[in-house]
Amino acid sequence: MSTQRLDLPCSFSRKDTSRTQPIRPVGLSVENPIESKASTRSLKQNIRLLPLATSTQTVKEEFWEKGKSLKRFADQGLVDESCINRAKRKRGSIEYGRSDTNDEDSEGLSLRRLDAGNFWFQSSFACQNPPQVPFALTCSGEEERVCYVPSEVISPPLPLSNNPWLESVITEITDLGEKDVEASHRPVKEVSGSSTSSESHSLGLNQTENAAEHEVHGGSGNPYPHEGTSVEASEEDNQGEHQGFELVSLLTACVEAIGTKEIAAINHFIARLGDLASPKGSSISRLTAYYTEALALRVTRLWPHIFHITTPRELDRFDDDFGTALRLFNQVSPIPKFVHFTANEILLRAFEGKDRVHIIDFDIKQGLQWPSFFQSLASRNNPPSNVRITGIGESKQQLNETGDRLAGFAEALNLPFEFHPVVDRLEDVRLWMLHVKEREGVAVNCIFQLHKMLYDANGGALRDFFGLIRSTNPTVVLMAEQEAEHNAPNLETRVANSLKYYSAIFDSIDCSLPLDSPARIKIEDMFAREIRNIVACEGSDRIERHESFEKWKKLMEEGGFLCTGIREREMLQSQLLLKMYSFENYTVKKQGQDSALTLSWLDQPLYTVSAWAPIDVAGSSSSFSQPG
């Protein structure tokens, strides 16, 4: 397998070899998917993951009603990553009550032997049945030329690897560093690629996993499988679990190899991952595929003379797709509504009695937040005499469309409305662009924006932004952020944390949409963008710097803001909203003495909404005149 391509999203099965330059080597493909179960076991034995994993697996099967949970994989895989932050590991083990964290050997150990010459491969693959033929690992030769896409973080899917269904038995061990072997491998791979038997086999595997998933959340009405099906489901789940564990362990091994700069190992892992993971596979497979792509991107940027990736396509479809994805997401998941409705409720309260209302929305996108707010305003006993929204964004076309739609909506409600589009990046926005006028109540809406200001190590960008916000004299500043710590300086921690986080997200999407839904792929790609940014970018390119609410609290307070708190009504509304979605895995909790509201999936916190007021305004009469 010489080509490594990750074709996401909808064209994964495209065997467009001409487009891809391999991240070289090789072919370590796992053979028959039939054996995959066995092989993964043996693989794991080597990694010393399994012995404990199986026992914990069975334990988990019992109390885990929902078939597969990605988080398990994430946690399991993570703990044997020696570089991972102790704290995270502990968190992982506590969540699932596993005590085996200490026992799990860092695979790093066995992997380091890679350099010592194929030793590891031999031993690990020795136990596999079919091909006894030693396999090839060709190290990345210097001839790899790279043309990577300039860091605009958000590069669309990168061809990385083929369909895992094209697995076959390559295996021929050669010495590390022999580059000409690749040539011979490519044809081998092509041939094997067309073998239908492995394909159908893999398909079989895929289907069983599909079946498991469907069974598990079968009929959309009953999230919990009955006793009867759970046995069956667990059978298939077992396979899925193994796959999941293998994928995650490969990911963590790859991350570690990046840390120790072992090119050959990186190569190997990305190849393997490319083989096994697919954006059309199971949830864990998809997640891993996106991570693999992100890692490949990172690696290409780190060592451009060694790794090569073809230029991603569809750069221009970025905005459109994102808009569609967001709307789809809004339809299937309560998350955007949770954020919007909670924010709106707080806003309503803040604007009580105000006659002129002005909202400054940083990154308004499609304005999905505002219709319900307009309705609430219009339904007030004294609707405001003027409603303005200043929408900031990066796409002029989208802004104009949003403005028109909002205007149409407001007109239907007889609400006097003005829209001001501002096309600019966040850091370039200035007060004079914002159309702030006197005698109006101003609110600043920062949904998933503040974290983009954290790229500046000494906090300058954030300070400036806060200054801008304060200069508008807002009554309230609404903040919604991902509740996660994805801003650690080292990659391992970021990958570890984000794996857990996005596993939960992918799980939640899994509950609403079937595997083959194109809508789902779009939505997942939206998150894949975030993943790519977290993993593959650094410096000012890395804008997805998620922090936990405690950190934000400190930052906001240092910036001169005071939390205005969450009331019972928001809490109730959120709870009602969540109840309306058919699965009960979402929970809403208050954080930090009623400061914020956090939405979680099972026990993984996802998003937090909070409201702030600048300190000189809070608690004192506002500096703008009260309405008549």
Binding site: G219, S220, G221, N222, D319, D320, G323, T324, R327, L328, N330, Q331, V332, K337, F341, N344, K365, Q366, G367, L368, P371, S372, F374, Q375, S376, A378, S379, R380, N381, P383, Q397, Q398, E401, T402, D404, R405, G408, F409, A412, L413, N414, S512, P518, A519, R569, L572, Q573, L576, L577, K579, M580, Y581, S582
Partner: protein, 149 residues
């Protein structure tokens, strides 16, 4: 001997309306198929208004009405949002605090708005045409999925 005049409800439309106003959604649906008169009455949006806001205290401000009418009317609100929301939440939820019901209604209204707004799109945001088959999945689709209450 005086013949007692037959009492035909259809002759007393105001009383009829008062009665029909107090029915629940399902019964209203059934009533609509009784005869043309009844059908016409049930088409009147104000009956559905009472249905939407029954048991809501305090009753929603007057200003809500034009809003709802602008967005499609009470019947639409009821059928599209209020009823599924109620059935999702079940009886137990609603017995809660006095203003729980109010929040519930507000939630329905919010969802109603989001749905209307989505439909306003028509290609806005570049998403309209493209979601093709998915376009039929409105933002309220999740309410249609059967759920074990």
């Amino acid at each position: 001997k005086e013949k007692r005049p037959k009492f035909c409800i259809n002759d007393h439309v105001d009383i009829l309306i008062e009665i029909l106003k107090r029915l629940d959604g399902r019964s209203l649906g059934v009533a609509a198929s009784v005869c043309r008169l009844w059908c016409n009455i049930t088409r009147n949006d104000s009956i559905w208004e009472d249905l939407c806001f029954s048991h809501v205290s305090p009753s929603p401000p007057r200003a809500v009405r034009p809003v709802v009418v602008a967005l499609g009317g009470y019947k639409k609100l009821y059928m599209g949002c209020v009823r599924p929301v109620q059935s999702r939440l079940g009886e137990s939820e609603r017995v809660g605090r006095a203003w729980t019901r109010d929040v519930e209604v507000q939630l329905s209204l919010s969802l109603f708005c989001v749905d209307y707004y989505e439909r306003l799109g028509g290609g806005g945001g570049g998403g309209g045409g493209r979601f093709g088959g998915d376009a039929s999945a409105s933002s309220l689709m999740f309410l249609c999925k059967p759920v074990n209450v």
